[in-house]
Symmetry: C2
Subunit: 96 residues, 2 copies
């Protein structure tokens, strides 16, 4: 469910609260609008995030983690710690 190039990254950005589409786009280096849309849609379908549309002009939409996704936060933070600890291992694949 959280596989692929962007999903974990998106979820992490939402760890500290709601973000708008454009905020996510700006914070995630290299993602295209298309990919962001696709991934957000999938995460929504999977029940990991909630999409809020505000009926304004210009349009405003934001995203937030569901309760279920919040339970994952401590887990991926452990993964992140592991990654930090064994950083050298990852040099083979981080260059890009």
């Amino acid at each position: 469910m959280i596989g692929g190039r962007w999903k974990l990254l998106i979820l992490c950005k939402l760890e500290n609260g709601k973000l708008r589409f454009s905020e996510l786009r700006n914070q995630i280096n290299g993602i295209t609008e298309r990919m962001l849309t696709l991934q957000l849609r999938e995460l929504e379908k999977e029940g990991l995030l909630k999409r809020n549309v505000y009926p304004e002009v210009p349009p405003r939409v934001d995203y937030e983690l569901t309760e279920i996704a919040k339970e994952l936060v401590p887990i991926w933070s452990q993964l992140s710690d592991w990654g930090g600890k064994h950083r050298k291992l990852m040099d083979t694949q981080t260059p890009k």
Copy 2:
């Protein structure tokens, strides 16, 4: 590093000790020899598992988790717990 369709599965199988190539092949439903080889090679390069070749005939090779990979065990077991707890969420993608 542990992304893709097979890697976590392979690592999980090795949680309780060494397994031979053929044992992995038999325990992992649906994997082809080619995929198993490729994934094992990558996991080895990444430093997550160790390959032992015994100079016998017929040939024997087995694989085991490295210390570093063992540190990941509790983490993916938490992921697994999370999955069990929210199983209904996953019905969308488990059918196959």
